[in-house]
Amino acid sequence: MNVPKTIPQRTLRCLVFSVVVSAIASLAVQAQSLPDWQGVWIAEGLTPEISGFPGPGAQYKLLGQTAPWNEQGMARVRVAQANQADQKADGWGFPLMMNAAAPLQFLIAPHETLIINVYRDVRHVYTDGRDHPAAGDRWPTTWGDSVGRWEGDTLVIDTVSVRDPNRYFFSNPPLSDQAHYVERLRKTGSDRIESTMTIEDPVTLTGPWVVELDYVRLTGLDRLIHDAYDNDRNEVEDGLFKIVPPKE
């Protein structure tokens, strides 16, 4: 049989073209089947008023009041409360960014979902089938390591390697870096996303801490607007909070 030793140039081009078209088509089909969570969202009840704070009755659900703290967890909570008087933060960090007075967006692509808030807290949730990196290839960080998968229209996010969240922002729960977070998010209406976050931490909790979270569409923002912290006029002096005069 006469078998050619090399593939003719024209055939090769056709093959490459077919592979590329097939890949693009596959991605397009995947993208079409992904949920549409466009827009700007915020945790229900936490939309800030002109003071910068949500209105009366606002409930932050991830501060830790309902967490099943064990003895070590309670000890951490006491230390955190004692140290928060003059603390500042550059953002909310994880997990508090998922229940914050901070607008956020979900950017859904076939291989990854990005969760970004107005304070530039960013979570990369890889949905390409990968697992977390091996233990030796990751370390605790403020936002942790997240992988996800789609179960129908529900995004399931598995997050590990989150550094004690209270170190970044004093209102975060003082969980350990061994905490394991699982979130199940689903858009249940045109203006509503519902989520359940389950946190397990062998160091600070006696059992799973389950928190129901909801996000509503923020109608006043057509985009996320990021800005530098270039006018922080809050200082603490002799134990008293003050507003320093404008620089001008």
Binding site: E49, I50, F53, Y229, R233
Partner: protein, 102 residues
């Protein structure tokens, strides 16, 4: 921080409106019935929060007369959290009330 048990009503003239992050500020010059005038630093949410509520950088200008409701600083210094602002003709610039900071 702020004394949530108190609210003050002040009327004054805007000297500066800072449309900034992490907080916006109105510097309001207030002339009390007696004594020298004082400049109050009125803290508000970040500019993006105000934008969401319909405010814009031009919503308040230097020279505007405002009547404001303020939760004062515990220190007694002339500053506080702005929870409501009305223009000279009584129009509310979006009401608010102080919730709890996490």
């Amino acid at each position: 921080m702020f004394d949530g048990s108190k609210q003050l009503t002040l009327t004054g003239t805007v000297r500066v409106f800072q449309w900034t992050n992490p907080h916006s500020y109105i510097q309001l010059v207030v002339k009390p019935e007696s004594g020298p005038q004082q400049e109050w630093s009125l803290e508000m949410g970040a500019n993006v929060y105000l934008y969401n509520l319909g405010w814009r950088p031009s919503t308040v200008k230097a020279g505007d007369t405002l009547t404001v409701t303020v939760v004062p600083l515990r220190s007694g210094a002339p500053g506080g959290l702005l929870v409501e602002a009305k223009t000279a003709d009584g129009k509310s610039l979006v009401g608010s009330s102080a919730g709890d900071r996490p």
